[in-house]
């Protein structure tokens, strides 16, 4: 589904429904700050949806639970039976439901507690990560718990599955998440990537197989290593099922922030997705998906954030070399984004896995030859995993105005891309928003995405335009980005200016060390002969100190030289201006 048509859809009853639910927050004014409303509204919405879904089987579940207790059936066996009885991946064994709760206003707090305890463990996990019992306490102390529950029983809170399909419920919930995220204002983007970017990433992921999926459907897995509210996984699913009804995507994700993790898991439960694939934890130090392989990886991991917290674990794993995730090397402690990239690479399905991951500019160039960052680049490039890097416009994200890049990394490059990297400059391909959200001042609309995808699929050296939009593509051999850093020294000389040799070797003048960056495509001896020796005949190189580095000078590669207008032409303009001046002077002052 395109952004435009989707917005059309969410503008109608879904948006309306979400607004009605969000309005319940008016009862929270004063007790909670506006950016905290979501901490009540989101879990309450989840609980009420489950309450409505479970209503028809409620009695049966309560009875079955008593029977199981008598029979002393516990753990997974009990879980299995109760889920089967409820007809969902969750259940509630409490004798209370929303309706019964409001019939006893005096005991609402303790009854609600009993009701929450009755949920299956997956729902309880969500409740605890939302820290929902704290919010319940605040509501009870502020005397609004009753009225909030009552509001959710009113028609505006009716979410029974026969009225609202799970797909629509997913949209409604997402709309509520968006309202919540936007209420954070400038901090919104910390756990929220806007849809337009995700749509582009999705297109990039499915591009090679799009036609095949359209015709035959597919069964795929997807993973987001810093999933936030699982937006990206949700959009990817939506997009795939839109292309083919027979597309089946099983989602996995890990998230470190308890609240957004709870939202992600609740979202999956509501949509009837793979909720057990949503994991809480720190991807860098506590990998929940070690040994997994995925078809698609889509991620917007934090950039410019240090990994001090995870340092010990990461360094331990790095010692295992390529058995762990961090074989090629470790980036500087101040920025963990390339660690996320390595985590993704480890989990890409051999032969076909594809990853679209957002990075900022530093992954392109940071670190000297031989440093961890350069070694990571060397690894992904020489292993032929980088398909394309796309520079996005600035001001596209909610929380940052800086330049960002999508790296398309794959373990199954098509033949025509083998040994090559495509760079796409899409920094001038955007439409301005009428209203900013945080730092987000521009959007990628369908036309922008189409143009970028055209450039990506064409895989050539060309400038693409459509109306005001411009996208430029360039392709390079992998080696193009590699260089040797050669150490050059100046030999000590005798009074005739000849190098003094000791055991046949020249001796360096102290402090004369210099280095030369020599592209892999150039012969090192020839380079030295041409560029160094003519100016310093005593120069010599110690090839043992050679270091290989990799760097992608994106901005320089897309630089266009415009020659200044010729001085003759400017002179002609000046003369013309002077003539005009003379005429005007005459008009003003006469011929005096």
């Amino acid at each position: 589904m395109s952004i435009n048509s989707l917005q059309k859809q969410t503008n109608t009853n879904i948006q309306e429904k979400a607004n009605l639910i969000w309005e319940i927050a008016t009862h929270l004014v004063g007790l909670f700050k506006p950016h905290e409303y979501g901490k009540v509204i989101l879990p309450m919405t989840v609980l009420k949806r489950f309450d409505d879904a479970l209503a028809p089987t409620k009695q049966a579940v309560v009875e079955m639970n008593e029977k199981l207790a008598e029979m002393k059936v516990e753990g997974e066996a009990r879980d299995g039976v109760l889920c089967k009885t409820s007809g969902y991946a969750f259940y509630n064994t409490s004798k209370f439901d929303f309706k019964k709760l409001v019939s006893d206003p005096n005991n609402i707090e303790s009854n609600f507690e009993n009701y929450l305890q009755g949920f299956s463990s997956n729902v309880k996990d969500i409740i605890s990560n939302f820290k929902f019992t704290d919010q319940v306490k605040t509501m009870a102390d502020g005397n609004v718990l009753f009225v909030v529950i009552q509001e959710f029983i009113s028609p505006k809170g009716d979410m029974s599955p026969d009225r609202i399909t799970s797909t629509d419920m997913g949209y409604i919930f997402e709309e509520l998440i968006r309202k919540f995220s936007e209420s954070y204002d400038e901090q919104a983007g910390a756990h929220f990537t806007s849809r337009d970017i995700i749509y582009l990433m999705t297109e990039l992921l499915i591009a090679p197989e799009k036609e095949y999926i359209k015709a035959n459907g597919c069964t795929k897995t997807a993973y987001d290593m810093a999933m936030g509210t699982s937006q990206m996984l949700g959009c990817l699913t939506e997009r795939l099922t839109d292309i083919s009804e027979d597309a089946d995507l099983t989602c996995f994700g890990e998230e470190f922030n308890p609240e957004t993790y709870a939202i992600a898991k609740a979202d999956m439960l509501i949509k009837g997705g793979n909720a057990s694939g949503m994991m809480y934890g720190d991807t860098l130090s506590d990998d929940k998906f070690s040994g997994y392989e995925f078809d698609y990886i889509i991620s917007n991991p934090p950039f410019g954030i240090d990994w001090k917290r995870e340092r010990a674990e990461v360094e331990k794993e790095a010692k295992k070399g390529y058995d762990g995730r961090f074989g090629p090397g470790l980036p500087t402690i101040s920025d963990g984004q390339m660690l996320f990239m390595l985590n993704g690479i480890k989990k890409l399905k051999e032969g076909s896995g594809r990853m679209a991951i957002i990075q900022n500019g530093s992954s392109l160039f940071t670190g000297d030859a031989g440093s961890g960052s350069s070694e990571i680049r060397r690894y992904v490039i020489t292993e032929d995993m980088v398909e394309a890097i796309i520079q996005l416009p600035t001001d596209l994200f909610y929380n940052t105005g800086i330049s960002t890049y999508i790296w398309v990394i794959t373990k199954g490059k098509p033949v025509h891309r083998l040994g090559k990297i495509q760079l796409i400059d899409a920094s001038k391909c955007f439409v301005k928003r009428r209203k900013n959200i945080g730092n987000k001042r521009v959007d990628l609309d369908d036309k922008c995405i189409e143009l970028i995808m055209k450039a990506y699929i064409d895989f050539s050296n060309e400038i693409y335009t459509k109306d005001d939009l411009v996208v430029e593509s360039k392709t390079f051999d992998n080696d193009y980005f590699g260089y040797t850093k050669v150490t050059v020294m100046t030999a000590q000389a005798d009074k005739d200016g000849k190098a003094i040799l000791k055991k046949g070797k020249p001796q360096a003048v102290k402090g004369s060390n210099d280095s030369e960056i020599i592209p892999l495509s150039e012969d090192i001896d020839e380079f030295i002969a041409k560029n160094v020796l003519p100016y310093n005949p005593l120069a010599f190189v110690d090839r043992k100190k050679d270091k290989i580095g990799y760097e992608i000078p994106f901005t320089r590669l897309f630089y266009k030289f415009t020659e200044p207008e010729s001085s003759e032409d400017i002179f002609a303009d000046i003369k013309a201006l002077e003539e005009e001046e003379t005429i005007l002077m005459k008009e003003l002052f006469g011929n005096a």
Binding site: Y559, P564, L584
Partner: protein, 423 residues
Amino acid sequence: MRDMISTGIVWCPSIPSDWEIRRVKNCFYISKVKAGTKNPVVLKLARSGVQVKDVTVNGGQMAESYDDYNPVQVGDLLLNPMDLYSGANCNVSEVEGVISPAYVNLRAKESINPFFFDYYFKIQYWTMAMFAHGKGVSYDNRWTINAESVKAYELPFPSVDEQDLIVDSIKKRSIQIDALITNAEKQIEKLKSYKQSVITETVTKGLDSDVQMKESGVEWIGEIPEHWQLSHIGNLAEIGSGGTPNRNIPEYWKDGTIPWMSSGEINLEYVNDTAEKITEEGLNNSNAKLLPKNTVMLGLIGQGKTKGLTAILNIECCCNQNLAYLIPNRFLFYKYLFYCFKAMYVYIRGIVGESQAGIYQGFLKKQYIPLPRISEQQAISDFLNHKCSQIDKLIALKQQKIEKLQQYKKSLIYEYVTGKKEV
């Protein structure tokens, strides 16, 4: 046209066939030693040149120690590696001292002319080639060209004699061009004063120089034609000021359609639109009033130039509390009032003072203006409209010429240092 060869370098595509390409490190040392001198002469790199920094003033700027600073000799070429997008940021020092180690200091290895390479780097900044060599996460001052890239930067290299000739030519031509620019700037200033005196003379003396005059008794007015009158502005116009709807109430501002003029917009002179708009609700719940077309506006406060400036509304509009509005009655033609205010600018500011003190409405009402018959006011306004627009056009032309001259200078430098123009 001399014989040119292609270099394969994107940012310097061709040079004369008898020139070479050399890298910075082949011609310069990157001087990086610690000064360690007591009370050194501290330098700064400004666009106009390398200057001595007054470290005694500018509180807080007094660094505890200049030990880490880099010594600069006469003839050193200094580059700013951190500001790569706002124009040329390099110069050859003509003074000795120390400078912050944040700058790149290039010292010639042999007898070459550093000014030649300074001009070349200026071109590199202007054509954004320096920017393209930069790296960073965002395009602000963290976008930097590193020392390694500077050292490997490729330079066109003519013989030293030719370098000297080129530098001499550029210097000579630059001086000439700068003189033309200064001259045009002076003319612009003269034209502005001319405009001011034409306005003052016309609104106080009228268009007919043969009429009998009388003393007005008002300082800025002097003599006026005998058949004219004098009147308080308060008798000739409805005067008031505007207001600002509460900024915290979105309904007053969001999706507003009523133009609302802020103090800064007095500079527009003729107001055809405003940046901010308010809603009907905002208008009803504030001191803002909807003013008719042809209302004359006056800036009431502002330490800068705003106070005393005037403008005419070409649209229906409201305004904030720092602007006065004047809706003339049938004895006063709005444009004549507008020109009177222009004539009074220096006078009013002189009385009110340059401080933050504002112009009070009471004071404004009591100011005298000369008052010819309405038909004469119209004739004066028409005359001034025509005259002022001619002067403005001439000023605009001269400004355009200044820009062209600046471009011309850059172009000449480019053509000389890349050998397109022969000396």
